[in-house]
Symmetry: C2
Subunit: 221 residues, 2 copies
Amino acid sequence: MPAKPPLHTDVSTLTLNRLCLYLRSLRRLQADGVTRVSSQDLARRFNLSAAQIRKDLAQFGAFGIRGVGYDVIPLIARLDSILRLDRRHPVIVVGMGNLGSALACYLGFNHGSFEVVAGVDNDPERVGREVGGFKVEHTDHLERVVRETGAEIGVLAVPAHAAQQNYDLLVAAGVRGVLNFAPTRVQPVPAVPLKDVDLRIHLEELAYFLPPSGPEAATGG
Amino acid sequence: MPAKPPLHTDVSTLTLNRLCLYLRSLRRLQADGVTRVSSQDLARRFNLSAAQIRKDLAQFGAFGIRGVGYDVIPLIARLDSILRLDRRHPVIVVGMGNLGSALACYLGFNHGSFEVVAGVDNDPERVGREVGGFKVEHTDHLERVVRETGAEIGVLAVPAHAAQQNYDLLVAAGVRGVLNFAPTRVQPVPAVPLKDVDLRIHLEELAYFLPPSGPEAATGG
DNA sequence: AGATGTGAATGAGTTCACAGCT
DNA sequence: AGCTGTGAACTCATTCACATCT
């Protein structure tokens, strides 16, 4: 029984992202009442690679049945456990402007794993507003809010110039990981993992692949 | 003179993302009054790899001066040109809920390359609202709005179930590329590049790297 | 038979190291 | 001397192909 030791540092980001995809695909199958699926099936349905699915899963053990495939529900449970989505992750949003408010509403729906439990801002105008199930508090009270809500993940949705400072505040307040939507790099503390999410880079990438505009593209075909 | 033929399909996404990063880093240097920089310098300052910077740039030609480094301003100009950021890209947002409105405000600031010129929604409640410089129109008028504004890139910020349909509408209306923020896969038309942006996956990834909670982590040290 | 799990083969991406120019 | 531009070496990732199990 070759039970794999899945050290967290051994799993590549690429694999990890795919595991998330697999999980979503499996949930869709589950919703459709499918109880078993082979790697080929899954690959065909969701434009994935069968060999890769097997390789990715095999890193964490052998959950499949040879000659048959994978049982959907146990596999979902296993992936949930691997990805730590089998527990609740309270999230606090720092910076409740347009983006922060949108993220507060948007990020909560993930089969109950993530719940945005609080939001803070340093603009008195925004403090006190009700957004997606909580009242916005002042950033001055960050530490108390984190303590009271048990927030585990901080989401930075502040302007670029305020990102580092607010990251530091989040760390001091005791969150265990930070997702940074500010368009700047933040210097992380080793103990508190940081992930930068750059929304603009996607637009820039897309612009590169845009078919070059013909001289008179108005004559649409 | 080994002028490189930079076919668009030859450049990997990884390289492309780095080019965007280089460009930003260079702009910061420019703002600081730096006129020349070596790959080592750039690497040190922004946590990059010097060899990789040179390799990446070399794909598009030789812009450096041996023994010296790169002239900041011409290099910025060159990268702008490579990434097609030297022209204006009008953007239309489909789905003006929380996320769409936030993106409309957020995506516009990129040194003038991208400008969100319109937003549509099929909820009459939202039609007519003024957001970030334009009035929200009804999705029924998408084609006219795209024609009138010359929108080139469509941003999908609609619920998952409406993503495909609205992608198709955008294609029919004549946009040349689509950025999809809906948490679902969309089947693209080959002529209109599509890029999926999955906001949740970042949270999921972060959750994986979260330090496991000790039994009583409240005694912060 | 049919699908998993996995070494081996291939391919992609990064780093090294240095020739060649300033 | 110093740094770019680039082949060669290396590492990482994906795909192939098949032994193994149901």
